[in-house]
């Protein structure tokens, strides 16, 4: 069975599942327990197809659907199969988790959620295999539409409706930019298949225009800096499994689209494209990290952290573009490896963390960090798996987050080899910014894990929080396992991804990795830099075990529980710990320039003084509000035309007639 048929079978399978789910009026528990695990099988199949697809030759086919003279073209090549792998892995976990999450409520009509959820998965798969502009646009916006309906499942809340609207509006404007980009790519023969676009020869000016349009179009969906405002609104509004899927996988389809246009269709012609992407990427990463640190809503924090990671991915892609433009294909392959690996890693640990927040919200009905805490005792499984996710996302050695960041740092450090002296000096400074971002992400994740799972429970209701069920453990366990495996055996993953690098930049890491055994991850050459995660893990575990045994044998001493140290002034309670806001206070202090801060200090005469501060996104005031005002003013001017007097309408018709006559003669 060729891969393409398998993929299309999965798509049809999902749509059918969605339709049946919507049709049968089963009650909630059966519905969730039956439909979502079955769709997880589809996810598994997709993962295996993705893995297999990496290896062999691209397959293309033409479906009967679509416009008469532009039927749907579908194609699987290494790049799309990598992202199919990513979609399959994360999709399986989310489907298994939703089997349990939607069982006990979770808002909204289960039948509709089942339909939209599966249409969402199917649309994403079609985006990844689309091979012509029409199918790509149809799949792209169906994905946006399905996710919009999922975001506003419980639409009684006004903010959720507003978030949903902003999300679909920005997605639609992005789609318009992408359509324009495809329009320019067909240079006058109405040839909209990607095949024709690949060998279309564009003048540098038009090619640059296409690239910038693609950057804006895919940026609107991925959340690059000026267009990211919808992300922290929309992702928290959706039910947790959906926001996991959106954050983990949907953002990656935007990255896939960007890579497809800039590498595959345009063959990365100019070096300054890379620099633009690098700059936007780093700015987005920094912005995301700073804003993540000052949030005190669990899901908004993760949403901003997604923006930060997408920024890192874009920076990597930008660097790969620069190397490729200068013909240094091996370094381009390295940077691309960092980009793709970070995409996969982010999909895994971000989905894991969102599922964890889903479990926490389910157990405690609380979302704000100020009302959580001490859950590690009530929910040990969720806490342990979330710990793995936290360590991975903070980029700490034995796990996968560190691997992609290490590769990215290596490619940044190799940039002085570029012939352009300006770049040689500015890119290292970019490296420093990246290091700051990585460290800040560590800060954010410590804050997230600390305030949610550690310390004393801040609300009484947290005491009867119950741990996640079997389905939840399997889902989160599957993701955590992937995180650890990729962390420990990055070389195997990179060898599997080699065809993708060959396809996009014409050079692979196979030979540079082959110089040492599979445990050593090397950048360009072993003596240049190498990192061995297996040694890390073994030595740490060995030292822990030896240390514990030695201490128990030579210095045996008991252990006793006692009250924590309270400087002697009486009973400690949960309110005396640091709140989430307090934990973010240093970052708020240092990076004040970037935040729009509104602080309300209570006056001394207040009966019950209350302090609250609100952090707004300055981009909203800088970009979106002026546009909205301009359109309102414009429509005000135009409104004057329709002002009721019939005589005036007749004058319009009269004047039009005379103008046209004058035009004719």
């Amino acid at each position: 069975m060729p891969l393409l048929d398998l993929i299309l079978a999965v798509v049809v399978y999902w749509i059918a599942l969605g339709a049946i789910g919507a049709a049968l009026p089963l009650e909630r528990a059966i519905h969730a327990r039956v439909f979502f695990p079955i769709s997880a099988l589809g996810g598994l199949l997709l993962t295996t197809v993705g893995l297999a697809g990496l290896g062999n030759w691209p397959q293309a086919a033409v479906l009967g659907l679509g416009l008469p003279d532009l039927p749907f073209h579908v194609r699987v090549d290494p790049l799309s199969s990598f992202f199919l792998l990513l979609l399959g892995a994360a999709g399986t976990a989310v489907s298994v988790f939703s089997a349990e999450y939607f069982q006990r409520g979770g808002g909204g009509d289960i039948r509709l959620i089942c339909l939209q959820y599966h249409v969402f998965l199917a649309a994403m798969t079609m985006v990844l295999v689309a091979d012509d502009a029409y199918l790509f646009m149809v799949a792209w916006e169906t994905m946006a539409l399905a996710s919009y309906f999922l975001v506003i499942t419980d639409h009684r809340v006004a903010e959720i409706r507003r978030a949903g609207f902003i999300y679909l509006l920005v997605a639609h404007l992005g789609a318009i930019a992408i359509l324009l980009a495809f329009g320019l790519l067909q240079i006058g023969q109405w040839e909209y298949t990607f095949e024709a676009m690949r060998n279309a020869v564009l003048s540098p000016g038009w090619a640059a225009a296409v690239f910038l349009l693609a950057l804006v179009g895919f940026g609107a969906k991925a959340g690059f800096l000026p267009l990211h405002v919808w992300l922290p609104e929309a992702h928290p509004a959706a039910p947790s499994p959906v926001s996991a899927l959106m954050s983990g996988v949907m953002l990656k389809t935007a990255i896939y689209g960007f890579l497809r246009v800039s590498f595959d269709l345009l063959q990365a012609q100019a070096w300054w494209w890379g620099v633009v992407a690098l700059a936007v990427g780093l700015a987005t990463a920094f912005y995301g990290a700073v804003f993540a640190a000052v949030q005190n809503d669990m899901k908004r924090l993760l949403a901003y952290s997604s923006i930060e990671n997408i920024g890192i991915v874009l920076a990597g892609a930008g660097l790969a573009l620069v190397f490729h433009a200068y013909g240094m294909n091996l370094l381009a392959a390295l940077a691309l490896a960092a980009t793709l690996l970070h995409c996969l890693n982010h999909a895994l640990f971000k989905t894991l963390l969102f599922l964890a927040t889903g479990a926490v919200m389910h157990a405690t009905q609380q979302r704000s960090l100020g009302k959580l805490g001490g859950l590690i005792r009530r929910m040990p499984w969720v806490a342990a798996l979330a710990l793995i996710g936290t360590l991975a996302i903070a980029g700490l050695p034995p796990l996968n987050g560190f691997v992609s960041e290490w590769l990215l740092f290596q490619s940044f450090l190799l940039s002085p080899g570029l012939p352009n002296s300006y770049l040689n000096m500015f890119i290292p400074i970019g490296t420093a910014l990246l290091a700051l971002v990585v460290a800040l992400s560590g800060y954010v994740m410590v804050k997230f894990f600390g305030t949610v799972f550690l310390g004393l429970p801040r609300e009484e209701s947290l005491h009867e929080a119950h741990d996640v069920g079997l389905a939840g453990r399997i889902a989160m366990g599957w993701l955590a396992l992937w995180c650890v495996l990729i962390g420990l055996a990055p070389v195997l993953v990179l060898r599997a991804l080699d065809p993708v690098f060959q396809q996009l930049v014409g050079a692979g890491l196979r030979d540079s990795l082959a110089q040492s055994n599979w445990t050593f991850l090397t950048a360009v050459a072993p003596e240049h830099a190498s990192y061995n995660p297996v040694v890390f893990l073994l030595v740490i575990v060995a030292v822990i075990l030896l240390g514990a045994m030695a201490l128990r044998r030579w210095f045996p001493s008991g252990r006793r529980r006692a009250a924590t140290w309270d400087c002697g002034f009486g009973k400690l309670d949960a309110r005396m710990q640091d709140t989430a806001e307090g934990y973010g206070q240093p970052i708020k202090q240092i990076f004040q320039a970037f935040l729009r801060l509104e602080r309300h200090h209570p006056s001394p005469f207040d009966l019950h003084p209350r302090y609250h501060s609100r952090i707004e996104d300055p981009v909203w005031e800088a970009l979106y509000a002026p546009v909205a005002r301009a359109v309102r003013r414009l429509s005000g001017i135009v409104g004057v035309v329709q002002h009721g007097r019939i005589a005036i309408y007749l004058v319009y018709s009269f004047v039009t007639l005379l103008l046209l006559l004058a035009l004719i003669l």
Binding site: G644, I646, L650, V651
Partner: protein
Amino acid sequence: MNGPLVGQVINLLAALMLLIAFAMLAQRRLLRLIHLFALQGAVLTLNTLVVAATLAQSHLYFSVVLNLVLKVIVLPMILIRLVDRLDLRADAESVGNLPLIMLVAVVLVILSFNVALPISELAGTITRGTLGIAMASVLIAFLMMITRRKAVAQVIGFLAMENGLFFAATSATYGMPMVVELGIALDVLVGTFIFGIFFFQIRETFDSLDTRNLESLKDRE
């Protein structure tokens, strides 16, 4: 009658049509406006009769009869009965600053002559010279509709425009094919009936026929 005399008679009648159009533009009293409209119908019918008689256009006789019945007898009678029922006999409306409207009308005449010039060279009919006048009377009727505020006056403007168009048809191509002419006549007749119904509807809801209170639907805050 021999050729040049016929041409002169037709041009005379065309000039008369234009004069009546100007008169209707300036007329303030409603009743006199209806009389002028009937007069214009009569001049139109006369013109068609002359053309039919002298140039052996047999099918035109039928349209002469049609016009005579419709535009000279039936329509004015309906309008007058309406005016009686709505007791608007003494109704008069102040037309905006008259000199300006007249000036615009003159400009319109000049414009329509220049537009009609290339067409009239092509038209095979000897009455092609009057095409310019026909177009002018149409545009003047249009102008009349714009400047009037009373609903009935606007309807009369609309019917005057129909007259102008019919006159253009006869001067350009000796009238339209019979089927089309019948259709147009039927439309005008039904149109006038419906206008009548509207007058009563407007009176019921606004108890005045002034279009100034028909301005509530607008998009301007």
